[in-house]
Symmetry: C2
Subunit: 322 residues, 2 copies
Amino acid sequence: MSVPELVDQARAGRSRAVGRLISLVEDSSPLLREVMAALAPHGGHAQVVGITGSPGVGKSTTTNALVGALRAAGRRVGVLAVDPSSPFSGGALLGDRIRMQDHASDPGVFIRSMASRGHLGGLAWSTPQALRVLDAAGYDVVLVETVGVGQSEVDVAALADTTMVLLAPGMGDGIQAAKAGILEIGDLYVVNKADRDGADRVRRELRGMLALGQRRPDAWQPPILPTVAQTGQGIEDVVAALGEHRTHLEATGELQRRRERRAREEVEAIAVTALRQRWGRLQGRADLDELAADVVAGRTDPYAAADALVAAVTRAGESAPA
Amino acid sequence: MSVPELVDQARAGRSRAVGRLISLVEDSSPLLREVMAALAPHGGHAQVVGITGSPGVGKSTTTNALVGALRAAGRRVGVLAVDPSSPFSGGALLGDRIRMQDHASDPGVFIRSMASRGHLGGLAWSTPQALRVLDAAGYDVVLVETVGVGQSEVDVAALADTTMVLLAPGMGDGIQAAKAGILEIGDLYVVNKADRDGADRVRRELRGMLALGQRRPDAWQPPILPTVAQTGQGIEDVVAALGEHRTHLEATGELQRRRERRAREEVEAIAVTALRQRWGRLQGRADLDELAADVVAGRTDPYAAADALVAAVTRAGESAPA
């Protein structure tokens, strides 16, 4: 099937075509550029929701409950679940995914697990492209569930319209969350397992810490919502808060600003990768490996070496455009 | 004082000149390039030791004890302490630094706090340059102490010759450490507060998890060392292990490989920054902001936009070399 046909079918709601397109971007297929060009006119509709939190707070259960509630409200839902690829933790979390099978036969739900970029749990490099596939395919909400360690909170906040931070009592999360700075990325805070001891304390601490942050008076005030994802308690309020945040983003122009910032970073990252490939192919004195060896030997310094690299890569552009 | 004079004085052991040079690189002074060029011939001697671990495991106390033990062995020691700049945690950890005043009057010790790069605790961008200052100034060992959250473990492992991961009982560290992947970056593991309940369990768990990782038979086996940094217990063993790791790195050629990898990354990062500044100055259709707006509006896709950016930046290099 051709790329335009795949895109048409994906836009007509065929899950299989959506899956094929995501595989093409994940595998860096030679068709990647054609896919991205074909998707470009059809994006901008989906609300991308990043879901992050420490292991054990109930991210998969909450994602599952959210899918159910969003479906009940007639919304089409995509889920990208970023799995850890570390040999130390690889298998454990996959079990959680089985719960998602609740929605496996629903054509209004598309679920995909993606490998994480590295052993510290960053998002897969192809996550932004996969989001473009789901957006063009007409899913109203795309939930991106991360493993919530290392780099992924930062990554997911950078690419989401709305970032949801999950906490739970008994995880020592209050203080740890503050130290990790995730208090600065949340648009919504969900205190899951709210029926357990200590949930009130987590909410209180969180409220106190959020009050310390400086916000403009007209800025979004991140709500703190108690849930028991296992039973669905509180999930309707989360769905409502997601809608309110989307409305706020649109009304204030923040949605456009976030999306432009994200597009800038995406374009820059692709351009830098292209330039890196180019200087990997340079020959002679301005070869990166040789320059690095010169720096280690003290024959040059990093700045002079970088100058040589930039000069070489731009000269290379002259004689042999990529 | 001129840059060559400052470098001479720093190499003669004057702390004030060392401090001035670090300030020049930290502030991106116009003299930065001259400083880096003047330092280049004098590096390659220091062992850079990254110290990371969760808040509360005793990083500052351990650093302090290590400084004392290394001084007792006649080594000159530099310390770069990366402080969190988050408004949520900014003040709390600074108190720990006061303990470092033990060494404030010792000319064989240089201690510097550096701001972290962002609210998630990454290393300051100028950390590699500050390390070059301390290396050229003849410090035998440079300890880089990070806040141990977010991105900094990864960063510090990337720039250290030897990465030391601290754990302590009662922090839920065993499992969490595995999830965060720090088991894959440590050259040395220190279980601090080894006189407390649960220290044996942490060591056992750690040993079990390290055994799961696949290592070549001739590879370095990271030791697991118990300490009570507060009393100095076990610190001599850590100093010995640092020396053994340095010997291993040199004998296997791994030191050279790590330093070349680091230099490659440093040169690349500086080159990418230079290219970014260049495309920030581009005018017309290939301006990054306009390209990003086109991507958001669906008029182009990120790959086509990146092509335009790369073409523009290399053409700009032709007509107006930076």
